[in-house]
Structure formats: C-alpha cells, structure tokens
C-alpha cells in the first residue's frame, strides 16, 4: 500500500509530460493546418487545444487515445471489423492456444532434459543459444510455410506464439526442477524413491515459483508472437493487423489504441497468472 502514492505520483507526472510533449510536437502541424485554412487570428490557447485534438497528430493526447479505445471497444459492435473487441479476441485466441501449446512443450522438454542426462549436455546449449537468435525473424517464414500447407487463420499465429513462449518456459522449468537442495534429493534416495516419485513429490512442488515466473514470461512472449505474426499476414485480423493498418493509412490514434489494447491484453494475462501464482505459493508456504 505504501507504494500507492509514489506510483500514482509517477503516473500523474508521466501523463503531464505526455500532454506537454503532445502539444509541443503537434503544434507545428497545427500551425500548417491553420495556414492552409487561411486562419491567422488564433491565440496560444487555441493552438494548444487544437494541437491536442488533431485528427492525424504526431503524438495523440492521452484523452484522444482513451477516447478512441472507448469508441472502438464499447461504442462499436463487437462483430464489426473496426471493433477492438473483435480483433482483441482474435489475438487472444491465438495467444491462448499458442501459450498452452508452448507451455506444454516447454514443461515436457524440461522434464525430458532433467530425466535424461545426455540430452541435457547436447540439447541445453542449443536451447540457450537459441535465446540469442531473434526468433521473431522466423515469424514471417513460418506463417508463409504453413500457408503453403493450407494452414491459415488462427493456427499459424498460434504456432508463432507457441514458438516464442516455449523457450523461456523450458529454461525456467529446468531451473525449477533442479532447484531442490542436494540434501533433499539425498533424502529421497535414502527412501529408495523411484525417479517418478522423486519427481512428483519433490521436484514438481519445488518448481512452483519457477513455474509461475516462467508462465508470466511465456504469456507475454506469446502475445508478442501473436501480434508480430499478425503483422506478417494481416488479412485475418487481430491487434497486430490493426497496428499495420493504422501505420499504412497514417491513422496515428488508431495505432495507439491498438497498441494500448495489446498492452492491456498482455498485462491482464500476466496479472491473472500473477494472482493465481501468489495464491498458490502462499498455500504452499513459499510466501509467508
């Protein structure tokens, strides 16, 4: 709670700075608009107010972004191709499917790596090295390849989302499954526990904090994957498609609205996982 005031202060400061920046950046364009309309009798106040309400501003004011968000979410029918709800749901679907596949793959791979020792020494370096590759460079290619196989629509985007989310989950879960103290592992050995028993009774519960941490990273990565994949093939809609459309047609406010929607989606997913994680960790005694 003691963070509430500082956070609020910082947010207010950011909003204030945003307004100032918007007025400053849009003023030259606004002056041109005045000149084209042959208007010379504007006051500084007029300039500021009009700069903050332009149709194609360089930097939209916060109220413009909020207004556009409101319009596209609540004032537009969810079935319309203009609605952010419509596109948001498309992105959400791709993200969730991709994330679930990625999580499954990631956890599965982590279990394999921990269980089979030679697999770790040959596979792990590649998995770590792959983090250094801008995987996003592969996105367009994967989408196109899948199109050749007539896999269209949600599936290719979900595939990219899965691809982006599964690496951080693998690395995180391997760390988690390896996190028990050697003393605790020795204890299991004195019970002659089978590897499966050791896994279910020790490694899996011990990995809970790592699980939730990597789920959060994976969810955020899945959103990025879905959005970037949509940019590549925008015919099927989604928030990434709206980003691209806005940038084609110079609709600045639309870009910002789509971006905020994507950010809200990501924040909501990460937030929900965080809440579930906190509750689970408290019940398991990881947090006092």
């Amino acid at each position: 709670m003691k963070s509430a005031v500082p956070i609020a202060t910082v947010i207010l400061a950011i909003l204030a700075a945003w307004y100032v920046a918007a007025a400053l950046m849009n003023a030259p364009l606004q002056r041109d608009l005045y000149a084209n309309a042959g208007r010379t009798d504007y006051s500084t106040q007029d300039l500021i107010v009009d700069s903050l309400n332009m149709e194609r501003p360089k930097l939209p004011g916060p109220h413009q972004v909020v207004g556009e968000l409101w319009r596209l979410v609540f004032a537009t029918a969810p079935t319309s191709k203009r609605s952010l709800v419509y596109h948001g749901l498309i992105t959400l679907e791709e993200t969730l499917i991709g994330f679930l596949i990625g999580a499954g793959l990631g956890i599965g791979l982590a279990v394999l790596i921990v269980a089979v020792r030679w697999l770790e020494r040959s596979l792990m370096p590649w998995i770590v090295a792959s983090q250094m590759v801008p995987i996003i460079a592969l996105a367009p290619m994967i989408v196109v390849i899948l199109y050749q196989f007539d896999i269209t629509g949600v599936a290719p985007k979900a595939a990219i989302a899965a691809y982006l989310s599964f690496f951080p989950i693998t690395v995180g879960m391997v760390k988690g499954f390896r996190s028990p103290d050697p003393l605790q592992l020795d204890l299991m050995r004195t019970y002659s526990a089978t590897p499966l028993q050791t896994f279910l009774k020790l490694r899996a519960p011990a990995s809970a904090p790592f699980f939730f941490a990597s789920m959060k990273i994976g969810a955020a990565a899945a959103v990025v994957g879905a959005v970037v994949a949509e940019v590549t093939k925008s015919e099927d809609g989604g928030l990434g498609a709206r980003l691209l459309a806005g940038s084609y047609y110079g609709q600045t406010v639309q870009i910002w609205a789509a971006l905020f929607a994507a950010a809200a989606l990501s924040a909501a997913l990460v937030g929900i996982i965080g809440l579930i994680g906190r509750a689970a960790e408290q019940r398991m005694g990881f947090i006092p």
Binding site: P6, I7, M132, P134, M141, V144, I145, V228, S247
Partner: protein, 258 residues
C-alpha cells in the same frame, strides 16, 4: 582447461551436426519442395552467392541495433542511479518498470517509424525503448543488493553517499547490470528487425526477410536468419566475455571450481 572446454563443446556440436545431416537427408528423401523448407546445402549455396546483399542488410540493421542498445543501456543505468537517491521515486518507478517489461513494446515500432522516418534511426529508437526498462529494473535491484553488514561498515567509516555508491553499491550491482546487458542484446536485435517490418529503405535484415517471404524465396530468408543468429550469438558472447573479466569475483564463477 582447454581440453575440458573442448570436451564440453562435443555433445552439442555432435547433436547439431546430426540434426543438420538428418534435415538434409530427410528433405531430399521426401522430395520436399524447396519453397517450403530448403535443405542446408541449398541454404549454404544461397549464402555464398548473396554475400553483398547480406552484408548490406547486416550493416543497415546493425546500426539501429548498436545505437539503440548503447543509448538504452546507458540511460537505464543513469536513471537508476538518479532514482536511487529517492525511495519515493523508486517505489513509484519500479512497479511500472516491471509492468512495462510484460508489455509488447515491440508494437511501438510503427509509431517510431512515423516519428523518426524509415531509416535506421527509428530502429534505434525501438531498441532504446526495449532495452531501457530491463536495465533500469536490474540496476535498481543491483544497487540494493549490497549486504546490510557491508553497508554498516561504510557507515562506521563515516562515508558519504557518493563514497558508498562508488566503493560498494555500484560494484555490487555489476552482476545485475550485466544480466540486463545480456538480455538487452537479444531485445535490441528483435526491436530493430521487427521495426523493419513496418518500414525501411530497401535494405536491412527485417526488410529482406519480409520481402523474400513475399517472393517465396525461402532459401534467402534462411540465409538472412543465419546471419541474424550468428550476429546475435556473437553480440551475446562478447558481452558475456566482458562480464567474465569484470565480475570475476562473483560467486557464480567461483562455483565452477576456481
């Protein structure tokens, strides 16, 4: 030491080579069309015949990557040190920094292209935004990682804030700073390449990928991806090498039997 490192490299190298061989053989045996997935030999061939293009693309993209990385990391570090003075500011900025790292900042790319134009500057701008927050958060956490006993020691010397900052808290923060520096190499590259999807003069790795995908020139796409992968790995390895020299004293290095 060298023999051991060589032995460490064997399993992954063997695995990788085996995978390449399988890929080559499998694709040829199944007669998979080249436009879907080319075998490694085709990619290698494409690579050797396109070096000028690939070099020009590399140069264009790397400008954005390096400038964005440098500005983002330095400003993240400076802001963290400035914010360190005020607990109020820290309590306000840290949660926001954590929030921002959960967001698809990459989406800021079209806006940056609009503001800074098609050339590498907009790619650098995306890089700055993507690398700033991890650096800020990691540096702040790192500055606070110095132990209570070590800080009390400075108090008993009557040391000033500045003396404590430079003699204790900044060195103690270095492992965290390098953690961010390593993560940021990937983020800067992703930022630059994705930003090129949104607009670029007719050169650049991201540009090459998106246009060749449109022409179904998948072998060229893979060749570009190889360049990107090697660049990313070298960048990361460079930073990791510096980290090893500078933070040789950290427990994680000693554990390997120094």
């Amino acid at each position: 030491m060298n023999a051991r490192r060589l032995a460490d490299l064997m399993p992954p190298l063997a695995f990788g080579l085996a995978w390449l061989a399988l890929w080559e053989a499998g694709l040829r045996l199944l007669h998979v069309p080249v436009i879907i997935l080319p075998p490694p030999s085709v990619i290698a061939m494409r690579f050797t015949t396109s070096i000028p293009t690939l070099a020009a693309d590399f140069w264009q993209t790397i400008k954005g990557v390096l400038v964005g990385y440098a500005i983002g990391c330095v400003s993240g570090l400076l802001v963290a040190v400035l914010v360190d003075r005020s607990q109020f500011l820290e309590r306000g900025l840290l949660p926001l920094g954590n929030l921002v790292s959960a967001l698809p900042i990459v989406g800021i790319a079209p806006i940056m292209v609009m503001w800074f134009g098609f050339d590498w500057q907009s790619k650098a701008a995306v890089g700055v935004l993507m690398t700033f927050f991890p650096m800020l958060v990691n540096t702040v956490v790192g500055l606070w990682s110095a132990g209570a006993m070590e800080r009390d020691l400075m108090k008993t010397y009557g040391a000033s804030y500045r003396q404590t900052l430079f003699a204790l808290r900044l060195p103690a923060a270095l492992p965290f700073v390098f953690n961010a520096l390593k993560i940021n190499t990937t983020l800067a590259m992703i930022g630059a390449i994705v930003a090129e999807f949104f607009g670029t003069p007719i050169v650049g790795m991201g540009f090459r990928i998106s246009t060749e995908v449109g022409h179904l020139g998948i072998d060229m796409v893979w060749a570009t991806v190889v360049v990107a992968a090697v660049t990313g790995s070298l960048f990361y390895a460079l930073v990791a090498g510096v980290e090893r020299r500078v933070t040789f004293w950290h427990a994680s290095y000693r554990a390997r039997g120094a």
